[in-house]
Symmetry: C2
């Protein structure tokens, strides 16, 4: 049984300003890795820039960042001689920041190194999440896309942020749909960790607590009444859980929905989540624990709640999606029960 999570994590209002000292001690000139819009709209970019003496801005991160984009960010960082990297935004910005910090520190490498097993160091990374789903601020993973291969998955290197600075006020300007889809991603992390073959006492401590926090928020999410601090906290605790166990079937299946049908990550996970729990319930008591921890009296209540929250995608290409999942059988063994071809068929058919 292992536990490791070396990030210095802070969650508080005015987090960036409160920790100016720690940020400035990381180096002289950071590369800020962020998206085009949201960090400007929610004020986080302004808060960050206002405490920095010097910086370089790479604000080209979009949903599902590619390995090519990370190469581009690293070139900018190298040219401008930055000495640390700040990922500001959702999971895309933070994951891109991790990969860019790796490439800048290893200028002789290119994007090929991302999925190679070799020991490489990286620049210090600071993560500042402004959505409530990824948990990337407390994990060492960086999920990137390779569109030409229709592949999406974490790079092979463990890149732990040095600091995570979380300020729930940035969430107040996010759209309802973004908050819901990222919250569903956090729920997927909690459920997939709780029903994971790699679970241990530490991960169960996180998932038990995180699911109990989610229980208190599940009706509020339907009515778009958000407890921003609790959403941020739950997302980070879910991240702590997957940092120990990894994710499982719904995440593995979600990547195909995103790669081929451009469905956002949180929703893609959410669509598969209920049927995955149903499959586990048929084989183990552990599935029922999820319902109990989330405060659902039976399975139908869970399914109805999820459909009220995110609907159904209405996709027809089911056999295609089943075939894609059949090609990644290594992922099947991440669940706490034995998953068969019939289970995958069932999940696809009842979810889409």
């Amino acid at each position: 049984m292992k536990f490791y999570m070396p990030v210095s994590y802070y969650l508080e209002e005015n987090c960036i300003k409160n920790h100016k000292k720690e940020i400035l001690e990381c180096g002289k000139k950071p590369l800020i890795v962020t998206g085009k819009h949201s960090s400007k709209l929610n004020g986080s970019l302004y808060d960050l820039i206002s405490i920095l003496e010097d910086y370089v801005l790479f604000d080209q991160v979009n949903e599902n960042p590619t390995v090519n984009l990370c190469e581009k960010g690293a070139r900018m960082g190298l040219e401008q001689k930055v000495d640390y990297v700040i990922g500001l935004g959702g999971g895309s910005s933070m994951d891109a920041a991790k990969a860019i910090a790796l490439l800048i520190k290893n200028p002789d490498e290119n994007k090929d190194c991302f999925y190679q097993k070799k020991e490489l160091s990286h620049l210090d990374v600071i993560c500042i999440p402004t959505t409530c789903g990824t948990g990337s601020e407390v994990t060492s993973k960086a999920v990137l896309s390779r569109p030409e291969l229709h592949e999406k998955g974490s790079i092979s290197h463990d890149i732990w942020p040095k600091y995570a600075f979380v300020d729930e006020t940035y969430l107040t300007s996010a759209s309802d749909s973004l908050i819901v889809s990222t919250a569903v991603d956090a729920l997927a992390h909690l459920i997939e960790s709780h029903l994971n073959k790699n679970k241990n006492s530490f991960s169960l401590m996180c998932t038990t607590y995180g699911l109990s926090l989610f229980k208190e928020m599940k009706e509020e999410l339907i009515h778009k009444e958000f407890n921003y601090k609790k959403l941020m906290m739950t997302s980070s605790i879910a991240g702590l859980a997957i940092a120990q166990t990894g994710t499982s079937i719904p995440h593995a299946m979600s990547y195909d929905l995103t790669n081929y049908f451009h469905i956002s990550h949180g929703l893609a996970c959410g669509y598969y989540l209920v049927s995955f729990v149903e499959v586990v319930m048929k084989k183990s008591q552990e599935g029922k624990e999820i319902l109990s921890l989330l405060g659902f009296s039976d399975f139908d209540e869970f399914r109805n709640w999820m459909e009220s929250l995110i609907g159904k995608p209405g996709l027809n290409q089911k056999e295609f999606l089943i075939e894609l999942m059949n090609q990644k059988k290594a992922k099947w063994s991440t669940a706490c029960v034995n998953i068969t071809k019939e289970d995958i068929c069932f999940i696809v058919h009842s979810s889409l």
Copy 2:
């Protein structure tokens, strides 16, 4: 709200042998800091030595290690040119190892530096606990004694172990009384963190889970039927909790019982624990949470359980102990409720 716990933590049978690679990568020659007997009796010292190519043994740690003892250990380490330190045993050995690692790295300093506020680095420390109470393997604290001042308290420096290797089998050769007294120390960590003014969602996650683990063991402890792995796990989770919040009144009061009356640390905390919960219960709902999480139906059941487990010390010097506690009022504010002079009197009179 902050969370930080950078230790690589492992809990498994054959833990030392399984992680030979990580241990050897820490350096060429460790100083092993341990007690005179127990690490020889439980086999842990043999397991450790058998994987090391070179080492220096400092096996002079006793209960309540002093600053002088740590100076002596550091001198041995410096003379023999060790390059990392392994604390093997209970909290005394691990805490002494941390302090010794600080002094060896700073040869111009002496014991005076322990309680000074200055930035000092330290040699890498590995902790291998063989009792189930201290949690020192997952905290940055090192509690040392200064007998000439009748003082006992953590040094001012944060010394995080690089690794914690926990193997529950070493506990099987410990005496029943040692297991009980260290388990009561772990319970004190859980309760004092849960009822701490510094508590946050992370520490509450640990204490809620840790107290639920303790609930499952409380009758077994009375009957001396031990689940060694769960005891070790609970102790580490309790350590994780106090790493975030620190301890509170029972620990602060316990040091006087240990310094003046030579009562072992776990028992000294345990004697004060029940009345401390009683005081909090009078002022806040949070006290009752403790009973509920531990599965006691009322307060009397909690008190009777504790008395069955550890008895009462039967000390008469109550006014003296109250006066000592009156001299450390800074400690009073560590509790989640306002603690008065009358509360301290009540705790002393009803506990001893």
